[in-house]
Assembly symmetry: C2
Homo-oligomer: 548 residues x 2
């Protein structure tokens, strides 16, 4: 049986547009001889549809498209289609895989395990499958599962998260093929984890595996695609594209033979983060209806990196950098930013903030002269934020915020200032990774598009004379290591101290993190690339005491 | 048996402080002859503790306080204590009621139904009770339940949300008393709903009911207290304070006799919203470590109402209003704001924004003259936001945002401008309710503290000459009615049109709501007073298409 894996990039909520795209892809697959065409989890809704699922009208419209537009395609001997969609029965909503065949819904396979941790809220919307049954495809008994259903193997995960394992139920019933329709978001390390898990399962049960994943960015989440096919020995037969749409074919016979050749090496590291962010920016910009972006260029590495990513994502002609020097800006900052803009081929403007800054000082300080306190540092950042947003509002640019994860963690950033923008591109990238990615981009481009000086100079907000980040923060090597333990691993203060950091630094950092929650609550959505990003993946109270 | 209901106001995360408060209250109750002392759901964590629960160190510290500080109080013939706390067993976390007696944990009653809708995420943290057993208190068999456990009666709610009803299990086992420890947040109508439900249950099962609720504000959520005691005829015997701490005593004998007198009438309407918001502001300010607040005073009704609420919440001397007129501000606006400040007895300053505005125009407009577009309207709002935040940063004021729910819904507000602030006091109050609450406050005070002109004049943002809200929006009566259907009831566009609104208006409003999601994602936390507030209760994608 020739199976097509249609790895699509749906837009959340765009039911009609997504259905049209599914229809096109189905016809293409059919013309190439597909005998079964697969689409990913909740492919018409786009994942995650969030509270759109609470609108009955949304659920009804999805079902109408399936019955009136997609099911009819499968008539007259056309191949069946297996597609992720909602399914409502007795007032209960399920996350399901619908088998469309000969013009109607022939079978419904419901998701059993509903992820409700990190960024996931599926227990908010869905009920769990009451029973699991195999499906026959051209005589081949198959387990049809959805995303999380395969993520609870008790030999792979210890302890397993859920009490039951749908694979045990389904694969004990004599199935030889495991099909999984997913919308599994990317983070660094996820590619490898998925391949290891799938290989483990294939070997354990002696089954072939067809794993189809959504691709594309939806708000904070980046779905990497990277669909996989493994034979019943656990050998990888093929991978679909990472970070772009694809249409992959597999002959099921191949699932039960040895692989012809070893799998190509897995690309996973800073290169995958680069590609993830490029797609994340592009999809956010386009899916929100914009075509161009604006950002402040400080001469520092964060804004330089964001500009470089944006240029690669949507083309340099669609990127506007605004240089906004103040009396405290160094000469090299302006030069570095100009060189960057030239290297990238993006548009730029210079708007000195002295005029508005002086007008504010006159209004707010008795003497009219600077008092050089934190309020004035924030004020400069907010003037810049206002200038960027003015370009956004007047000229239709989407504003990009340029802060990194380390700053956002400890609150070394200004609400309504440098935090202003519709998308925070590197908000989940710790500072040390900002450097790594900047060097990676320069190495890929074969020249220092991000000026070497921007990468090597000591980081500074330049909001008062001779300011350096390290006057206020521990060195970033130390800071990032502590943050990783605290944010990504939920380590206790005691455990972090035991990892080799001095008490005072640990306490100071953790206190800064906790106190900055009010800023993060108002932060722009940030593209997620680590195992735990701020935003919907980390839900913290603001008004609390700090004795964790 | 004399039972004490200790209705406390815990601060989320403040384990040590909350435990000390529990200890004090326990001793007070004991001195008044209590034979059993009750504390509300997750009383040491404070509700909702959110992702603090993901830190093992947090769970361990709570348990240490229970074992080392609270359990010892119950030694030597002191009364037992029943307290809401987490309970970890075999790596599974439960939301539980612990019975402390004679120095140790005598029994654990686990929560069965875990709310995971609206603002609730309990399936993210907790497992559900594996089995339910009654508890004996001085020979009286009782069902010990936690919050949601009583909210699934299949005769009261149709259809019920969960498959099982813990009350059926527990009350069939011969129990005569139902104890419920809650952290049940307020919204308009909740008091009545609770009393109706409890009366229904008491009558259905012929049991007495002791219902203890948390009180206090925690971020967006306002817990109203309002604990209740009903006899086995479903008659209300007493209510604890609404919106403040209380210590209530009940003799269990009374639960099985007719009530001596009818219950006092239920106060519920705009008066309860007033008290909810006062407590919500006060707790947010104090629990974030502030003592004073700043806000912009425009002369309009929204900022006037917020100023009046803040003055009542933390005292007028702790409230600073900043008047920030522009060239487009009307004379009456300045006068109205000055009269308001005088009426309330709050501090005020006047900071005309002309200087910074002109400086920005010079920087951003070729001619240096105004272009009167949306970008300049937003710019004025952002200058004001920067001035308010400057006072916050320099002088230690918490900034209050003054936007109402109607504006926030349709995006008639400026990100980083009038949306700036740490708390959005009336963000869940539709405009028509803003008027109602303003009139209520004037009637309670016996004079127009909020100037009559502020209430009666046509609402205007005054960001360009002769601007009126109704130039851009439908009349608020219409707008609010549509928003209520769409936001609070998840009604479809078709259903809203059928309620008697013309298609064009409905489509325009819904489109505005959907498109403003990016603004709301960056909004300050808003105090929740309706059945569906923006924020954690409504989780919508940003980058989506608009064909709901």
């Amino acid at each position: 049986m020739r199976v097509a894996l249609s790895q699509l990039n749906p837009t959340v909520g765009a039911l009609g547009r997504n259905a049209a795209r599914v229809g096109e892809s189905y016809l293409t697959a059919m013309k190439s001889g597909a005998e079964l065409v697969l689409f990913s989890e909740l492919c018409l809704c786009g994942y995650p549809p969030k509270d759109l699922l609470l609108y009955d009208s949304f659920i009804q419209r999805e079902r109408e498209l399936i019955l009136n537009q997609l099911a009819p395609l499968t008539k007259n001997g056309a191949p069946p289609m297996l597609i992720g969609a909602t399914h409502k029965e007795e007032d209960k909503l399920y996350n399901a895989a619908l088998l469309l065949d000969n013009g109607s819904i022939k079978a419904v396979h419901r998701k059993s395990l509903l992820p409700n941790y990190d960024v996931f809220d599926e227990a908010r919307y869905f009920h769990s499958a009451p029973a699991l049954e195999p499906e026959m495809f051209s005589g081949l008994p198959a387990a049809v599962t959805i995303c999380e259903d395969i993520w609870n193997d008790r030999d792979f995960f210890q302890p397993p998260l859920y009490n039951s394992d749908p694979l045990e139920t389904l694969l004990d019933k004599g199935t030889r093929l495991l099909i999984n329709l997913s919308a599994s978001p990317y983070h660094l390390g996820k590619h490898r984890l998925r391949e290891e898990l799938l290989s483990f399962i294939a070997k354990k049960y002696g089954c072939g595996i067809i794993y189809l994943n959504q691709v594309g960015g939806n708000d904070e989440l980046i779905f990497d695609g990277h669909s996989l096919v493994l034979n019943n020995r656990g050998e990888l037969l093929c991978r679909a594209n990472a970070f772009s749409e694809d249409l992959l074919f597999v002959e099921t016979d191949e699932l039960f033979k040895p692989a012809h050749k070893p799998a190509p090496p897995l690309e996973e590291g800073i290169d995958s983060i680069y590609r993830a962010l490029i797609m994340g920016v592009r999809d956010y910009v386009w899916k929100t209806g914009f075509s161009k972006v604006v950002l402040g260029l400080s001469g520092g590495v964060d804004s330089a990196l964001v500009a470089a990513l944006a240029a690669d994502a949507i083309g340099p002609k669609n990127v506007l950098g605004i240089l906004m020097p103040s009396p405290y800006s160094s000469e090299h900052s302006i030069e570095d930013a100009l060189v960057l803009a030239e290297n990238l081929g993006i548009k730029h403007r210079i708007k000195r903030i002295d005029g508005p800054f002086e007008a504010f000082l006159k209004l707010l300080n008795k003497s009219g002269a600077p008092e050089l306190d934190l309020a004035e540092e924030n004020l400069q950042a907010r003037i810049r934020g206002s200038i960027v947003m003015h370009a956004s509002n007047r000229e239709g640019y989407l504003a990009l915020a340029t802060g990194n994860k380390s700053e956002l963690a400890v609150g070394y950033c200004t609400l309504y200032g440098d935090m202003a923008g519709g998308l925070a591109v590197i908000a989940d990238l710790p500072k040390m990774m900002v450097y790594e990615l900047s060097r990676y981009i320069n190495s890929v481009k074969g020249r220092a598009v991000i000026p070497e000086n921007t990468i090597t100079k000591p980081p500074s907000a330049e909001l008062r004379p001779d300011q350096k980040d390290e006057d206020s923060l521990p060195p970033y090597e130390v800071l990032d290591a502590i943050l990783q333990l605290y944010i990504e691993e939920n380590a206790s203060p005691e455990a972090i101290r035991k990892s080799g950091f001095d008490s005072e630094t640990v306490n100071r950092v953790l206190r800064m993190v906790d106190r900055a929650e009010f800023k993060r609550r108002q932060a722009a959505p940030g593209l997620r690339v680590t195992t735990r990003a701020f935003g919907s993946g980390r839900r913290m109270p603001i008004a609390r005491s700090y004795d964790l």
